[in-house]
């Protein structure tokens, strides 16, 4: 590898230091001595397991729904495709609290779809774990779509065409040829959207509410604790940091293989 220019190294180190300092701030305030007791409380363990359930379920749904969206946006040709692409990205731009309010207007008990769900099937999405998952899917799906759409667009279709002339069915072509080739992007997209789902706060508290064991995920527990029990908030943040690092470190090597 060539030697890196000194200025680049310097700026990179500065930038990393900038990203690291809030983290150091957290660690320096961490109540290490009481940590075991704080982590053993029911609030923390409830929030931790709920966060795992919500973020992983959301990621599975994102995979199932996001892949077709990405494929469609990459391949379909019609006049409003640019507008459609922008609309799919909107949850990334919207303040999450606005996203949560919008979800209420759609799926809340008085929402135009939620009313119907409630009257016909007796389903109420807000104030349930399903509601938390829905909010997480809404905010995290664009991260997956962006990663996978560009992969769909960048691969050339020669192999697919050959397979087609050899008589392979479209679904066989997709699963046997296309998907394996874009796998690194799919994994990258999954890691990004999982991380977004884990950290999701605004849309969840607005749409799903805050009930321990049901909708109170780690970020909600942190926010509540910040105002009432700052030490518990720090302990909860540590749980989030450790969890994300444990998942993201191996994942990142998957999609950006380190030499």
């Amino acid at each position: 590898m060539n030697k890196l220019p000194k200025t680049v190294v310097l700026i990179a180190l500065f930038a990393i230091l900038f990203l690291l300092s809030p983290l150091l701030g957290l660690l320096q305030r961490m109540p290490w001595s009481g940590l075991v007791d704080l982590l053993g409380t029911e609030v923390v363990s409830d929030a931790f397991f709920l966060s795992l359930i919500v973020s992983f379920s959301a990621t599975l749904i994102v995979l199932a729904l996001g892949t077709p969206i990405a494929w469609f946006l990459a391949k379909a040709k019609f006049p409003f495709i640019k507008l459609l692409r922008a609309i799919v990205l909107l949850p990334m731009v919207l303040p999450p609290v606005v996203g949560g309010t919008a979800l209420l207007f759609a799926f809340g008990r008085q929402g135009f779809l939620g009313k119907w769900l409630n009257n016909w099937f007796g389903i109420t999405l807000p104030f349930s774990t399903t509601g938390s998952i829905l909010a997480a899917v809404f905010v995290s799906i664009p991260f997956f779509v962006v990663a996978v759409e560009s992969a769909f667009r960048s691969i050339n279709e020669d192999s697919e065409k050959v397979a087609e002339t050899l008589g392979a069915s479209p679904s066989k072509i997709f699963f046997r040829i296309t998907l394996p080739r874009i796998l690194p992007s799919v994994i990258a997209g999954l890691a990004l959207s999982w991380a977004r789902a884990l950290g999701e706060f605004g849309a969840t508290i607005t749409f799903a509410g805050n009930l321990p064991g049901e909708t109170q995920t780690l970020p909600l527990a942190v926010f509540l604790a910040l105002e009432t029990n700052p030490e518990a908030a720090l302990a909860l943040s540590l749980v989030m940091i450790v969890t994300s690092l444990a998942i993201l470190i191996p994942f990142r090597d998957q999609w950006l293989p380190s030499k």
Partner: protein, 239 residues
Amino acid sequence: MWLSNSLKKSNKFLFILGIGWFIFSGCSNQEKEITISAASSLTEVVSTVVRSYEKVSNVKAKTIFGGSNHLAAQLRDGASVDVFITADSKLLEGLNFRKVIKDFTRNSLVVVKPLDFVDQNFEPKDLELEEKLIAICSEGVPCGNATKSRFGIVNADTYELNVKAVLARVSAAEVDLGIVYETDLKNEPKVVAAWPQEKTCPCVSYAVASKGKVGDDFVEFLDSKIAKRIFHEHGFPHE
């Protein structure tokens, strides 16, 4: 015409800037400034009091409304205010206010339902039922602590961080019942009392804390006839 001809573009810009500076510096020389943070349940009443204070005093006021715990945390982290009106006097511990008036005014709790459900009948034991969707304040924040000591265990579906969030849930009819402040009934026409209730305690008692001359002057105004009338109009007792 002569002005725009004689001034080049850049000069014109400087000219406008100069006028702007002249006006703004003129203002800040005449007026003193005061920063007031107050519990979100006092938003309407304190805003009204502040407006009439600005008229009589030539002081420019900046108001910050939020959950009392949140505001107290801001103060601990170095935010500077002249007056802090909190729904829980315990939150003043460790904050260096010189003057503190405890139990300045009070607010009782009331169980409310959405106006949309005005024909539906509820009863106190509904608060214990699983089928009803109920929003209350989270324990730890003033309205949540008061809810706990007044109503005991409630089968809630969501614990909100401040009373305005509970109010928003009820007014949007996303929940069947919510527990909010008595005074919220006056300010939010889209909620009604779930059943006839009396104003009783355990309730929330507000404390007023101030520092500096600017702050103390405002607190003095809070005891004026005008301020008392405004508090009464908004449903707050004020001797």
